[in-house]
Subunit: 340 residues, 2 copies
Amino acid sequence: MRKETGINRQIVLASRPKGKPTSENFKLLETPIPEPKESQVLLETLYLSLDPYMRGRMSDAPSYAAPVGLGEVMVGATVSRVVTSRHPKFKAGDLVMSYAGWQDYALSDGRDLTPLGDMPRPSLALGVLGMPGFTAYMGLMDIGQPKAGETLVVAAASGAVGSVVGQIGKIIGCRVVGIAGGKEKCRYVKEELGFDECLDHHGEGLPELLREACPKGIDIYFENVGGKVWDAVMPLLNTKARIPVCGLIADYNRTSLPEGPDRMGLLMGTILRLRLRMQGFIINMDYGHRFPEFRQPMEQWVREGRVKFREDVVEGLEKAPEAFMGMLEGANFGKLVVKV
Amino acid sequence: MRKETGINRQIVLASRPKGKPTSENFKLLETPIPEPKESQVLLETLYLSLDPYMRGRMSDAPSYAAPVGLGEVMVGATVSRVVTSRHPKFKAGDLVMSYAGWQDYALSDGRDLTPLGDMPRPSLALGVLGMPGFTAYMGLMDIGQPKAGETLVVAAASGAVGSVVGQIGKIIGCRVVGIAGGKEKCRYVKEELGFDECLDHHGEGLPELLREACPKGIDIYFENVGGKVWDAVMPLLNTKARIPVCGLIADYNRTSLPEGPDRMGLLMGTILRLRLRMQGFIINMDYGHRFPEFRQPMEQWVREGRVKFREDVVEGLEKAPEAFMGMLEGANFGKLVVKV
């Protein structure tokens, strides 16, 4: 259903997925546009960010954040415009970054809003200059600690986070090898983003191709995927390698443990023998206070064209569930945003 | 065979173990006592340290250090006395820390020797004031980063490393829970070393006992064991927990992966979800330059009786293989040294 005057479309969680989400798990509601109270603003969503972490919020397994409740609006970062303001710091027409979720309109008391200054394109606040870019920067710099001449391997290399990780690695002077799904993504990563190499995990023989692409082994692996990509990476890790664990999209729809043998002890032994550092992180919780440290260099790199980006823009809020389900299968190409 | 005048007994690696080492893997040779050349000293071994890492050196699987060659003297740290010196910095009678290995006499060019000052007991240079104490200190302080009020769990709690880890944890103000093998070791850890609790992994129901002993979850787990101890720890880890991976003695004699399901992805997912930091380390390679930082406070704690220690002294070099094999099964009680 298209956007209509006077109606607030909301996409709510109808049921919790078992394994892959399906369209049954989402429901589109029509509700009245809410009225802002004293100290509130009414926001209209312009762009909604779709990100892999949302799969976790659909589940009620223990996690770092409370799950979305059944019947509640799906969470998500947005670029929104202030429609009416009863808040002293905002006025109608202001563009802001918000967490308005999967809906046309939302109220805010201003605390979760970041004014968008003179950004080249407002949707960048959801990508390279927003949470995905910040994730790439801090995970690589703080946990990965890259040095010139080291080999950096990046999973999901054409994605919103991976593409930025690899480009920062090149600026630092690393040999950067990407892994992506499909020939066109690999071509883009290598030719347009300037990675040294990019391997297609849809093809055969990833372990051998990766070994050839990393003749000096792997010093940093930025983990976004897990599964078979991790299986190919693990035997190539160098002593003292660093592994920022940012995501495991290959496992998000998994409902049971894979068959044995049990390799957990093998991983522990590898951590010991190679003196690995493996560290998980959640960008806003672990690094929220360090946003300015990221924003200044990244804006400059984007302005100079040293960090490129690609958006995959889907038109219409009603398309969000389909686009989100596709993302979990790797169907998007670049940062996925919904133009609402 | 007992020590005899004019003979250098050497214990060499006769064959590589498959699984548990046996007495067949060792051979005792009698060789002439070597003569020091210009700039060398002749050392007589007083104490030989036996440590779990030696199991790794008996194997030719890829590791951080070259394996002991077949027919070569087993490696090991020693407290030795200079018998004759042709080196300007040492004189007959000096006590030194060395890596003379499993033999009565050895030559050295002086580079691997550390003079022992006024140490309360020379064998402490192999324990609380030497490599095991240093391992405990740096692994806990640098990777574990303990804070007062946090819960620290220590595997192999009565051992040379674990006993020191837990006592430092108490000095810092942590709740410290040890895990050890057998009632007498647990009594010692709790009553004599002052841990808050110590659980016997030989008994039934370790997962439940550990849960009761850690009502606020686990913030730091000092990993020395792996296997079933790790299985009990993993579900209790708190968000942002730190896991220095120092050893995995339960796995050292393993010859194949255990049966499934495959929990490697489960561990990766736990690292991500809880934002864990897991890090392996090898004390001399990673922290060798920071020895003074450890030595000063540790000497003081030992002098003040705030860090206690226990030695398990075996008499006679010929007993070393048996004592070493017993240690891998947890038969020792305290830091295992051979009085040669």
